[in-house]
């Protein structure tokens, strides 16, 4: 499974990648991920590439990702061509993606699943867990490949202990929003 994660510095893209990687590892799969460090973390675009059960090559070629998980609407659109035909997009957005994209996305059979994670996070009283809400939202769609339980085990394994409870809650909030 090839997953591209995209967002802005400070949105926890690296942490989200860690959770998915850990979930893959716990399932006994080979994991290879590529992270962004340095300059790009100062509020710039941040992207990671993740392969679960795949090759050792660190990057995903455009047009071949199974999934794109976007924590920011604009960054999601910027990275949209990574997704293969019949792939899936999970995006934190109040209004999906730009309407000009819909027709072509439909032709390519790329499904876009949007969640207003910021609103959910506000409800939870913790804007810092927006990334986890998006992750929790994704497993309700079969195409995601990892289950909510997989993600929860990963969150528990990663710690830190004091953050686990809130992170689990955030996953649940995301999962609920998908129903």
């Amino acid at each position: 499974m090839k997953i591209v994660l995209a967002g802005i510095g400070g949105q926890g893209v690296v942490y989200a990648t860690k959770i998915l990687s850990q979930a893959g590892l716990l399932r006994g799969e080979k994991v290879m991920a590529s992270e962004n460090h340095g300059m790009s973390q100062r509020g710039g675009s941040v992207m990671s590439h993740l392969k679960i059960g795949g090759s050792e090559a660190p990057l995903i070629r455009r047009g071949t990702a199974d999934l794109l998980v976007g924590f920011d609407r604009t960054e999601t659109m910027r990275n949209l061509t990574f997704v293969r035909a019949s792939g899936n997009v999970f995006v934190n957005s109040t209004n999906g993606l730009d309407s000009s994209l819909s027709e072509r996305l439909q032709e390519l059979n790329i499904a876009v699943h949007a969640i207003n994670a910021e609103a959910c996070a506000k409800e939870l009283g913790s804007p810092a867990v927006t990334n986890l809400i998006v992750l929790g939202f994704a497993p309700a769609h079969n195409e995601f490949g990892l289950s909510l339980d997989d993600l929860k085990s990963a969150v528990r394994a990663l710690g830190p202990a004091k953050a686990v409870e809130l992170n689990l809650k955030a996953l649940d909030v995301g999962a609920k929003a998908a129903r």
Binding site: R61, G63, D98, S100, L101
Partner: protein
Amino acid sequence: MTTQLLLGNDAIALGLTQNECRVVTAYPGTPSSEILAGVVKFKKKLNRDIYTEWSASEKVAFEVALAASWSGLRAAVTMKQVGLNVAADSLFSAAYTGVVGGFVVVPCDDPGPHSSQTEQDSRLLALTAKVPVFDPSTPAETMAMLKAAFELSEKHRVPVIMRPTTRVCHAVQSIDVTDTGMPPLNGNSGFKKDQQRWAATPVFRLKLHHELNAKLQAIESEFESSSFNYVVNQPLAISHQPFGIISSGSVFTTSQEVLDELGVEIPILRIGTPYPLPRKLVAEFVSRFERVLIIEEPDACIELQIADRTHVSGRLDYVIPNAGELTPEVVMKVIGGQLDKVGLTVAASPEDSALAGIIGALKIAPRRPRLCPGCSHRSAFFTLKTTFGPNAIYPGDIGCYTLGTNLRVVDTCIDMGGSVTMAAGFYHASKITQDKRPIVATIGDSTFLHSGIVPLINSVHTNARFILLILDNHTTAMTGAQPTPANDYAADGSAATRVPIENIVRACGVKFVHVADPYDQEPFEKLLKDAQAFTQTDEGGVAVIIADRPCVLYDDSPVEANPIPVVITEECDGCRYCVEAFECPALILRADKSRVDINYNVCVDCGQCIDACYKGFIIPKEVVMSN
């Protein structure tokens, strides 16, 4: 077997720890910075006695580790690729003298470049310095290679380089972390005197050069049968292979995957030891094909060492792009092009051009990196700009504050310490060109201690006149908050002796030295004006202001202790002056451009933007409440 997820740099750190490396030194720089932090983590976890040091510069780091090796200990030094330039003097010399305890240098290359001023290839510097190189393709492989590198270094008594790239350093892989480390061959002997080697004069240097050449010859023949060099997609019937590939480093895995995606079996000779190149092995491989593509990063190291290039293509004949990262897209294009040439066209799903066109039409602006909300550099830069305007000459330096480009107060950025030297150079040139503009150089604390001191001494000595603004945020912020010599703690948190920057500046002979908090914008402006006046007086020279305020990302206690929450009044007309001139990421122009709002999710209540609205529409919250 225990499998763990490890960042490439953590894998390197664990490899160093497991192989009984006893001294590890470094100067921080992306993509290498997490290695030393990792060693600190693992030495505590595995209870190993390892001396760890964030050194003042790469040259310092190199030589501290080298002395440990000469004392019979295993030692390693890490840095980013341009850091190896700083340590090049030591590297070239140490190749001749050789080592005792295994000595491994880990310079991390940055094809792209993602966070560097060049895309230089450390393997080529190694080739010039005559130092053997291992070139890992994955985080997992770094651990096996470190073991081999220490053994090779001890056996032949040479420094050895292991060169990862960004895609190895910052990849995370599931890795078997079962300890396979090897104890040192030579034992912990302590330094043994040998003047003809360790203090060799030119006559003995010639002897050492001959000795080094002999070592390299022996190493090359060992590399001929090294398990790090192997062929994948070995064909049964060679005659049917349209072409072959030689690859190394991370891009080897990319090449493999591209071939998988294309569904073609092209043999790849993976080279894990690019210098000295096992030339027999390579020549034999090349002889089996009409054409062999050399896919390596970031430059041509293997390719350069192939004397007969009649059947070889790569960077030197421009088949492979000579700049930029070899992403899967580029590799696909290169391999696809070669397949095309031999009449094999294969379909590979490319990015959808129609979709790309629609996205292009959306004109999504690139999101540039910015200083953090509350960053004291922003306050210093803003005051600088309002004091001297857009015309002054602003030499800048390497660090977060290079982002002063966004506020237009960084005009040049060449290398570590370059701000001070360039300021002096601009001054001397301005005397000739009769240029009267003020010159204000900016440099961070870590960079000043790394490479600013000698230039400052030189500037004072040559009577240069400019303002040097040392942005002292008490840490090396850009790379993740490593301590500098001006901190009172060391890499592993143990106590260290603080060397105050102010004392150094005074000792350099600077007559105008002031320390001030850039958050106090008004007095800071006055100080800048005083400094400029000083540079113009008869007995004037270099004026130094130390802008003293901790990095808000790593120490927000001063702001927490004295928060100044702000609001933007109804009167805001969306003129966007604050957004552009102050450019705090928390100041957001509304989508309809009618006004600016504050994103309180990221605002840190520093109150520094109050003066950024010259119309007075950004005000402290308290004022609103009391009205």
